[in-house]
């Protein structure tokens, strides 16, 4: 991405801004930046909002933010790639986050994850080819009292086993892999 930015930035920016003027989500994002008075310190807050609106952070979006906050594109890209929470690739329809915190791990989260990987045919951090399921891992979601926990589409589900997790996924994939 760095290479593409340096060569094409001049032409890309007007195109992005023009594209942005027709997209309501960019307006919401800009309102959010305005709320922070286009403060450069608010970069992480702005990226949170952008990801909430768009689902992931694509190059054009990052350039748009860089332009509006008057930050170098490298700084925006650097921050977006530093933090695990931000994703530069689109996610699937459904997300399945397996907590791999210590408590979940000693209670068998690794077996749950292995079963899910086998079921979906993808590794943690990937999305299935049909764009249905994204399989992710979390460092610790703080649900250690009910370990092992898995988050299905934002819903924390307690005491998971390999069987329960695979069962849950059946409803999403529609067909077996």
């Amino acid at each position: 991405m760095i290479a593409t930015l340096s060569s094409k930035k001049q032409n890309r920016l007007p195109r992005i801004l023009e594209h942005a003027s027709g997209d309501k989500r960019f307006k919401i994002l800009e309102a959010h930046m305005k709320k922070h008075q286009y403060n450069q310190d608010a970069l992480i807050e702005v990226l949170h909002k952008a990801q909430e609106l768009f689902g992931f952070l694509e190059d054009d979006l990052l350039l748009f933010i860089a332009c509006k906050l008057k930050l170098p594109a490298s700084r925006v890209y650097g921050v977006a790639t530093f933090y695990h929470f931000f994703t530069l690739k689109p996610k699937g329809q459904h997300t399945c986050v397996v907590c791999m915190g210590t408590a979940c791990y000693v209670k068998g989260a690794d077996r749950v994850l292995a079963a899910l990987e086998e079921k979906t045919g993808i590794k943690a951090g990937e999305t299935t080819a049909d764009n249905q399921v994204s399989l992710l891992t979390a460092r610790c979601i703080g649900a250690c009292g009910i370990a092992p926990a898995v988050v299905y589409d934002g819903v924390v589900t307690p005491r998971q086993t390999a069987e329960k997790a695979v069962e849950q996924l059946k409803g999403w994939t529609g067909h077996d892999h």
Binding site: Q40, D41, A42, L43, I44, E45, L47, H48, R75, G78, V79, F82, Y83, H84, F85, F86, M100, G101, T102, A103, Y105, V106, K107, A138, R139, C140, I141, G142, A143, C144, G145, I146, A147, A149, V155, V156, T157, P158
Partner: protein, 566 residues
């Protein structure tokens, strides 16, 4: 807002209390077991039974025994005349566990004298009886979404007393006298830290609350934020007054959405009542608090990295000194404390430094909240005085390993801590004793491991964590963790020799002494402590090198070696 307003709110709140209060846990652990559905079902059942004027269904914070959630407690109003504060003794009424929405009508039936066969937890069990709640005093009692509920439990009383009756120096003195030490893990005396920030000249100072609870296996701060957010706000405001800061930030993990919502509500309510903002309690003191949401980087729990992140940059640490107390956020003197530290402040001011320093051991005062998890019967939160023996926590309160298993080790301090073997369980839990054992107090996560847990696997698990979370700024941590992880993997795959183990120990030493920040300096701890107590588990996995007995065709020893030199 003046003191009369606080009293008025308290009186109104207490007068509105109905005969029965049904407390339903709506903290994250129970929410994931559908406690919100239970609460709605209970409200419906109360309406159906026509008991609205007698029963209040209240969503409350964590009731500690997370493994049995959703938890519901029924509290019958004690008609003691002259009660001026919220009744805190929550162990009076029956505590129902694993409640489902279907149980709601039966539960309401018991209020009218009916009987039920609902599963109950025993409030006299050591898990509850041995606790000494200070930080968690309001947790499970008050409604975290309503500031009135906090005020009725003596909330913001301490802030009032501080602003109207004490000088900043008085506050510093009482915090110093109380002997409170930082609850984030390192245990630096809080009073000294505050004193340094107060002494440093500067017109603009900041107070930051570190709520980036990154240690896997720790969820105390999350529970405090979800159950009693105002206690943290009050502690921060008092800190602001003591050190001369007018702006505070709470840096909270994005992984805790419920805590974020509760904090946003709490800040809004406090501003509306004038408990944050300008001229608090008609004094010249101004204080505002803003939230900063993290984005999933463990290293941001390190104070200098955290400040970089608050400034909207990559969260990489920088060398200290200068310490944040002298040059922190935006180059200004900055006070950084952990959630639990701030939550201790208001009780210290209210009840006095002597009261606080009377609890705990000689060097570690007060209580500590621990998150019990792993292979243990009762998982959840406990708050015990410092110096409580580990055995009491794990075996008496936690109920030991489930299904008759044998406890092998207790891991404290997350990836920066170590494993304490079962035969050292009689150690009292305080900062010094844990350090002596090669572990650390850490933020308070306690993971119990039983016979089925392989210690080398645990060491590799933590090393993988540190390798992934290393920010990459300094080489010992960036490259050292990768190499250590690689050796540990080879040991587990039975492909490593004695020489590899020696190299691993060398690397531990090197990374520990040459890394830039706490992450790297403590990353070898899980390896060092497991090597110290469970060395045989490592040596059992080693194969002989070219100078030892011959390998079989797979590059493995024909028999597991019992090398006496290891």
């Amino acid at each position: 807002m003046i003191i009369d307003d606080l009293t008025e709110i308290t009186e109104k709140e207490l007068a509105s209390r109905k005969k029965f209060t049904i407390r339903c846990c709506v903290a994250a652990g129970c929410v994931s077991s559908n406690s919100v559905g239970v609460k709605e079902a209970l409200e419906r059942a109360v309406r159906d039974a026509g008991l609205e004027d007698q029963v209040e269904v209240r969503g409350v914070g964590c009731m500690k025994l997370c493994c049995q959630g959703p938890l519901v407690q029924v509290d019958e109003r004690n008609e003691s005349p002259g009660a001026t504060v919220e009744i805190r003794s929550v162990d009076t009424g029956p505590l129902y566990q694993k409640v489902t929405p279907e149980d709601a009508s039966a539960l309401i039936g018991t209020l009218q004298g009916g009987s039920s066969n609902l599963s109950q937890a025993d409030p006299k069990h050591p898990f509850f009886a041995e606790q000494l709640p200070i930080v968690l005093a309001n947790s499970g009692v008050i409604d975290p979404d309503r500031i009135e509920s906090y005020i009725a439990a003596e909330g913001y009383q301490a802030l009032h007393d501080v602003l109207r009756e004490l000088t900043p120096k008085d506050v510093l003195d009482s915090v110093l006298q109380s002997g409170l030490r930082g609850r984030g893990g390192a245990g630096y005396p809080t009073g000294l830290k505050w004193g340094t920030v107060a002494k440093t000249p500067g017109t603009q100072k900041y107070v930051i609350c570190n709520a980036d609870e990154g240690d896997p296996g720790a969820f105390m701060d999350r529970s405090v934020l979800e159950s009693d957010p105002h206690s943290v706000l009050e502690g921060m405001a008092i800190a602001g007054y003591a050190v001369g800061a007018s702006q505070g930030f709470i840096y909270v993990r994005a992984e805790y959405p419920l805590a974020i919502t509760r904090l946003q509500t709490a800040i809004k309510q406090a501003k509306q009542l004038g408990l944050l903002g300008s001229g608090i309690f008609e004094s010249p003191f101004n204080f505002n608090i803003d939230l900063r949401i993290g984005a999933g980087a463990f290293v941001c729990g390190e104070e200098t990295a955290l400040m970089a992140s608050v400034e909207g940059k990559r969260g990489t640490p920088r060398p200290r000194p200068p310490f944040p107390a002298e040059s922190g956020l935006y180059g200004c003197p900055t006070l950084i404390n952990n959630v639990e530290t701030f939550a201790n402040i208001a009780p210290i001011i209210r009840k006095g430094a002597e009261w606080f320093s009377g609890i705990g051991t000689e060097k570690s005062k007060g209580t500590k909240v621990f998150a019990l998890a792993g292979k243990i019967t009762n998982t959840g939160l406990i708050e015990v005085p410092m110096g409580t023996p580990l055995r009491k926590i794990v075996e008496l309160m936690g109920g030991g390993a489930p299904d008759g298993g044998q406890i092998k080790a207790v891991q404290t301090g997350g990836p920066s801590g170590g494993c304490i073997p079962a035969d050292a369980l009689d150690t009292p839990v305080d900062y010094e004793s844990l350090t002596q054992l090669g572990s650390i107090m850490g933020s308070g996560g306690m993971i119990v491991m039983d016979e089925t847990t392989r210690m080398v696997d645990v060491a590799r698990f933590f090393m993988e964590f540190c390798m992934d979370e290393s920010c990459g700024k300094c080489i010992p941590c960036r490259a050292g963790t990768v190499q250590m992880h690689e050796i540990l993997t080879r040991i587990l795959n039975r492909k490593a020799t004695r020489r590899d183990l020696e190299k691993l120990e060398e690397l531990c030493d090197m990374v520990r002494h040459t890394s830039l920040c706490g992450l790297g300096q403590t990353a070898p701890n899980p390896v060092i402590s497991t090597l110290r107590y469970f060395r045989n588990e490592y040596s059992e996995l080693l194969v002989e090198d070219a100078y030892g007995p011959r390998r079989n065709g797979n590059g493995q020893c024909a028999q597991p070696t019992a090398d006496s030199t290891l």
